[in-house]
Amino acid sequence: MAEAAKSRGEAPAALPTWPDEIYHVLKDAGIRQVAMVPDAGHSRLIRSFEADPETRVVTLTTEEEGVAMLAGAWLGGERGVLLLQSSGVGNCINMLSLPVICHMPLLMIVTMRGDWGEFNPWQIPMGQGTRPSLEAMGVIVNKVDEPHLVASAVQGAAHLAFNTWKPVAVLLGQRVLGAKNFKELARK
């Protein structure tokens, strides 16, 4: 994207600071287990956790594994976070019964697709279904569309999850992440 901006004679955008901010917010919240299916929007945060000897980063084959794993972490007295893309929310639905019925905290940070500026029509159904499906399962949802509000949203969600034993999801909109456009790349 920086290359594309350069070729149009625009200054490349400065690197966003929110991934580092939420790394520190999550550290302050006592996060020790990071369960994730990677997303480009989470890559910087994942690198920070991988470099951190105090946190265990577990790569999942499907996101619902992470819901179960973090329930186990809570049973054992550790706090965790689940990093996933909006499409992965659909994989979690039945497993969310576990934190809901057991009053366990679950902190999910969801990077959105099928949202503002989306180019891929196949991302739309789950992207648009992300919030209603989470809410239907009893997850508290907070969507963020401005980069400077990301850190406080994650901080508030962590407090809410770990102090009231609720599943809480922060949705990071494509206005924050920047919308992908593979078609633009394909034309080059």
Partner: protein
Amino acid sequence: MNNPNALLHRRDVVNELLRDRADLLVIAGLGAPNWDVSAAGDHPNNFPLWGAMGGASMIGLGLALAQPKRKVLVVTGDGEMLMNIGSLASIAVEVPKNLTIAVLDNERFGETGMQKTPTASGVDLAAIATACGIRTSRIVRTMAEVTELRDLAHEGRGTAFAQIKINPEALVFVMPPADGVILTSRFRQSVLGDEALFN
């Protein structure tokens, strides 16, 4: 029991796995494995599932990572394990020493009318676990092998996986508390102490 080819009885297997359980932590998958673990005796260190199908082994992983000094045993069924068979790949990367997964394989979806699962057609869960990288992985057919597995689980010398071939018998349900808040709170209080009630 005198016939070496006879299939094991699930409650004999679970009673042996939990013999002298000391401070063993036990996750039980939904359905019959839950009733089997409960039949061996209700215990605050049990976390018996009434739902969340496919989650038992990953709950075990999160718990094993959080409590590296305790031994964690997951007792679940073949249908439950198959629902999230990819968990074995996730677990094989982490391989905590203190995690054992015992799959009671009756080759049936027992709660729903004894329909065949893929293991009835030869799907080899132990081979899948081995291929994922869980080196201590086996099919268990005798009580002597169950005792070996019990010792592995209690010693915690590496992630272990076992597919235990059992009789597809339907037994009386023995139920633990169904309230997830009670199950969670008493487990945490037992493992973490009274402090767990305050945070």
